[in-house]
Symmetry: C2
Subunit: 421 residues, 2 copies
């Protein structure tokens, strides 16, 4: 039950922001403070954050807070003046990518990064056609809404967009590579020149899949053969979250033409980027100017650089792998007692737990997923659900998540599953 | 001449960011510190900033720095949790708008705001047609590049976009309202349903014009009659810059359907918004989800709220009007001695000085404008140039610009004009 103060804030919020400004949970959560994997409400009750991938190195990490505070007091202006912060950061970040990915352009959000990547791909290919997965999400701009079918049901797919099957390792209903080939053939039959295959390397909104059998590499090759680019959307899997590799695409031994970065890049500060081959940026730059007012300003570069350094110094990628494996093992044990759990998948600290009413028919247990998400919230653990039927528990905590936090999550999840009976 | 250290940084920058990442000035400027209207280089030489509208309440204003530092250390997460900062700010900001503009959605950049406004207009109208001025700039996304002809010359105009004449008060070559009417008729003749008229209320990239004779109101009415919306792009003129009014559109006694905000909103922190009638947001929200990861997070709301409070407490809008008028008067005096100055226009602290080789033929003096911009930079004064021929000096300082700063600018401009001979 909401307190009178909460009810009043909710009413004021709806008045000023409108009804479509959604909140999580049946009972909205109102954190006032964050630290590491914890969010605290006004009564100082700690909530275990097993969901927020943006605060990737932990809420309010002192290194990032210090960088932001210091640089904000010193200088914060645009990239048409010369400043070492963007150069230092770009060199350091690019050292994390394989050749020939040697250039980057900075933006403020993952949406701006994906949108710019589409512009570069369209400029390079001279085409308009974009291939994405059937339940993809790539951002909020006009161009990205067209390639984000998960945003709206019932809207027609734009004529230059083709939807393909995600590599669903659970139901095995689709064939990603065959689907991409068919989409390319269909585009060509209809006189649409392909510009890009745009894929989230962890297939988050499709339900969390992490293929490692060369599917991405094979699909990328098909698109390149047709004159388009392979854009790896690393906004969600990037920066070590998947544990075994810095970038999700590396799992599949493929080098993208363009890579887009966002969410965890500044641990909450709005900073994002497109990384790619210099020839692609040069080609685009000869045709069109691109200037992003806040993109790459000294504060965002200092914040992002602090995140990158902490990621290395605290070896959070290894932690993501170790704690992720530990958590998956614990979930497997829960699955032995809870038939609702149909599948456990994902990589590192990006885990999907698919709930089904029947393991044989694999029928999505959508209502149960919502009940568990809300039940965990009442038990002070924060997660969410994803997938076309919203029946996949999405467990995606800050990368400083430790085994003790995994134990707590497992204990509370067990209780919640028991309650569901 | 660049020092060896600067030359090395330039080379590193080009290697990591590519050649299309442009810098201002023949000799790039490398500030290391900012305060009020001043930017300082590494030798602590002060440069008078008469150009940067983002640091609107002054570089590194302590109120904004404190808000950012404090909130970053406390909590910075997304708007699907309940937090008072966005509600407090939204209510306060909306109190600055006339009825019926009663709702807002927060984004991170002016580009995201303009892009969202187009999505809302297209959802509302069921149309795709957009009308913008001939040399407009509205942002960097795919959809906005289509309506930003100033970004690229030689690219064809998209079939659903119509370009109209800016209300050029100097050459009087076009008729804005007649041009909008003709664009609407042309769209309808070609079966394109109008979605929006999108106009920067100070026509910045077109050369800085500030009509106040009802042109905007008349054009808005035409678009509404055709089923479209009038979107006021206040990213540049908004937040008191034009002196006589908080928002540029108010000069023309017209109430837009949607208003987009950006640049000065967070004094450099990436925060932006769309303001509009709740019915429009509701209609859009029923059709499509919109969630912006960093948009409206506590840090950006605290930063933006600090800016709004300082704007009021220091009465910077009045200062913009008074110092703007003073500066324009000083420029008029310069014009008596310098025939290069063909026209002085603008409002408050958004001033355009159009340079012509001949006042009778009004021939644009593009090369002279570049020479003056670079000459002033050598004299430690920062401005830029705008307009289709880049011959309009753009003077757009932080709003804390005082008469003594105007005097300094006028003195250095006089010297630079004298040097030009």
């Amino acid at each position: 039950m909401s307190s009178p103060a909460t009810a009043e804030l909710l009413a004021r919020r709806e008045r000023a922001l409108g009804a479509s400004y959604r909140l999580f949970y049946e009972e909205p959560f109102a954190p006032v403070r964050g630290e590491g994997v914890w969010l605290y409400d006004k009564d100082n009750t700690p909530y275990l954050d097993a969901y927020n991938n943006v605060a990737s190195i932990g809420h309010c990490h002192p290194a990032v807070v210090a960088a932001i505070a210091e640089q904000s007091a010193q200088l914060n202006t645009h990239t048409r003046y010369l400043h070492p912060s963007i150069v230092d950061y770009a060199e350091d970040l690019l050292s994390e990518f394989p050749e020939p990915l040697d250039n980057m352009t900075m933006t403020c959000t993952g949406s701006e990064a994906n949108d710019l990547a589409l512009r570069i791909a369209r400029c390079h290919s001279g085409g308009t056609g974009i291939i994405v997965t059937r339940w993809a999400y790539h951002g909020v701009t006009s161009a990205l809404a067209e390639v984000s079918p998960s945003l709206a049901t019932g809207l027609p797919t734009a004529s230059h967009v083709r939807l393909v099957d995600a590599p669903d390792s659970y139901r095995k209903t689709g064939d990603f590579v065959a689907s991409v080939k068919a989409a390319l053939q269909d585009m060509q039959a209809q006189g649409i020149k392909p510009a890009a295959l745009l894929v989230d390397s962890i297939f988050s909104s499709d339900g969390v899949f992490s293929p490692a059998n060369g599917e991405l590499a094979a699909a990328a090759q098909c698109v390149r053969d047709a004159g388009g680019l392979y854009i790896a959307d690393e906004v969600q899997p990037g920066f070590g979250r998947t544990g075994g590799q810095r970038w999700g695409f590396a799992r599949d031994n493929v080098i993208p033409d363009l890579v887009t970065l966002g969410k965890p890049m500044g641990n909450g500060h709005p900073v994002a980027a497109v990384v790619g081959r210099s020839a692609l940026f040069d080609q685009f730059g000869r045709q069109q100017r691109y200037f992003n007012t806040y993109g790459g300003n000294p504060v965002s570069c200092r914040a992002a650089h602090a995140v990158l350094r902490v990621l290395r110094e605290e070896d959070l990628q290894t932690n993501a792998r170790q704690v992720g494996d530990y958590l998956k093992q614990g979930l497997q044990e829960l699955a032995e007692r809870h038939p609702l759990i149909g599948d456990i998948r994902g990589e590192g600290l990006f885990i999907g737990v698919e709930l089904v009413t029947d393991r044989h028919t694999q029928t999505p247990a959508t209502a149960c997923a919502a009940a568990i998400v809300n039940g965990l919230r009442r038990r002070q653990v924060l997660i969410s659900a994803t997938g076309p039927k919203a029946n996949v528990l999405k467990i995606r905590p800050p990368l400083v998540f430790a085994k003790e936090h995994a134990d707590l999550l497992l204990e509370r999840l067990d209780q919640t599953l028991n309650d569901l009976g």
